[in-house]
Amino acid sequence: MNGYAGKILRVNLTTGTFTKEPTPADLARDFIGGRGFGIYFLLKEVPKGADPLGPENKLIISSGPISGMMIPGGGKCDWTTKAPLTGGYAGASMGGHFTAEMRYAGLDSIILEGISPKPVYLFIDNDRIELRDASDLWGKTTFVVEKQFKEKLGEEYQIATIGPGGENMVSYACINHDYGRQAGRGGVGAVMGSKKVKAIVLHGTKSIPVADMEAYRKAGMALYKACKDAEGLKEWTTYGTTQVVDWCDQVGALPTRNFSAGSFEGVKGIDGKAMREKIVITDKGCFGCPSPCGKYSRSKKFNSYVEGPEYETIGLMGSNLGIGDIEVVAQANLLCDDLGIDTISAGNAIGWAMECYQKGIFTKKDTDGLDLKFGNVDAIFSLIEKIARKQGLGVLLGEGVKRASKKIGQGTEKFAIHVKGMEQSAYATHNATAMQLAYMTCDVGAHHNRAWAITYDLQVGRDLVTSEKVARVIWLQNFRPMFDVIGGCRLQWVELSIDRDLYVPALEAITGIHRSWEDLEKVGERIWNLTRLYWARENEGFGREWDLPPARFYEDAPTSGATKGQITKIEDLHRLLDMYYEQRGWGSDGLPKPETIDSLGLKVAVA
């Protein structure tokens, strides 16, 4: 089948056996790959009510047809599972070189099933597939494990590994790859840890069949040329995602002290310029990338090296914790990556704990003696370690802010910054109604990557509640995640403004199937509805209430910064949801109507 490596590998960890099956042609036709494959297998194969950390849950790793191809950004793979953090759908995207190597090993997807009786790592070298003992690796941090494999096997092997966070099944443990790329959100690392899989190590030398080689060459070259000629290439490559730090501060979107404000007095110490001047030593890109956004950094203060930090980590581990020193943020980034926990959720959890301490809800008796004031560097470093190792206060914080605030009560739920149990990424949404709606309705929880609508808020009026804004969010949600389906990176389109239509002939040349963006958006819409149905299947009473943000965004107007005194009323949030549900073809309860499921051809998928 053109555009596909051709096989799906199932690894039964309980029995230690493997099966390979052909990648189904109808699956490729209807769901293309990546997170399309992920939600299909999750919905069909993981039984209702499965424990996310139990043997019935599966970890589904999927590439797409442009993964590993000479297409800009063809280095993305999707990790789908039932999320330990939220109890709903998790679909985490990871860059680097893993997905290319996976395809060269002949695999479109790897599905981890069951639970191994002892720590193992999955070794794949083309058709040689083994589960090997990982007892000596258990307990080691991610950088140590990756370095050990690289030294032992060679640079050509690609490694994805968990750290102590994953082993300890921290609810937001991540999976690390290439010393700084992560499948970060939802707790995919905890699922891998629950299965006792320390790492996946793979290498391949096979080729991927292409429908029209000459057309593929031309389409690929056109995409690379568009990137090379893009006006913003120099700035993007110089600063990466950190280029938005100052801007977010100016528009009140930079999370500050647990999202109590959106502007930070110490922003100049953590912005892109500070980072480039103080710590960046080189740029680092993923497979086939012409515009590397990764920055490799050295902190003299801590005598350490790390990939990053990128914007989300600067927001959550910097301003959100009252930190105005890029070297501290870089060190916090390093600790999280090495220990294997998500910087976004960890930054939120620590920010929530600091606010509890500020309000007198936590005292030193609750914090293991830590003085949890905003800006206390030692306390932050200590809490990261405690979270990953499940020690002291870290046990509570490792459950995520939704569960932690429910346990503590005393009004702490109001400033537990999450939607559906997933901590919010680094955009403060006081009075930014489209961006707020994007977070409220995102299919994994409060994550920005499906629909990033804050510039649209600023363009048309940030407080407006209109059907046009809702339509914009839906369009983004159908369109942007398609990059996670085809196995590519959206940042060339997002940040370099290259023409998205350039991907159409490339995809056609590779697969032999013509799909316009309208066709692709229809696939995106189908996947969006499936993820919604999955949430509803797994959570009794799922619906509108799950879509609401924390009260901070409709009750606590910031007292400083660009959004001082600005807030969105709860009534307006409900109006947004009313319009959103209607435009999606969902009922007022927030669930897809039967006729919507039917019209999208999803009856079979949900049967």
Binding site: K234, E235, Y239, V244, E495
Partner: protein, 74 residues
């Protein structure tokens, strides 16, 4: 005594305008953006002679200024 201001592709597309201006020196970039009728919050980055500058930068003779939007986020 003038300088040039050019809008990046993303900002041009967002605003639907051509985006090449000759401007007077002595004002800062923020003031100049406002005088051109552009919402300052839509401008994420200011490049002056290929160096990143803040909107407080005071425009000098012959400066080539480029204004860029953030269109999509991470």
């Amino acid at each position: 005594m003038t300088a040039t201001v050019r809008l990046g592709d993303s900002l041009k597309n967002m605003l639907g305008i051509e985006g090449l201006y000759t401007v007077e020196i002595g004002h800062n970039v923020f003031e100049t953006i406002v005088s051109l009728g552009i919402k300052p919050e839509l401008v994420a980055m200011v490049s002056v002679n290929d160096e990143l500058q803040s909107k407080d930068y005071v425009i000098e003779e012959g400066d080539a200024i480029r204004l860029m939007a953030v269109i999509g986020g991470g």
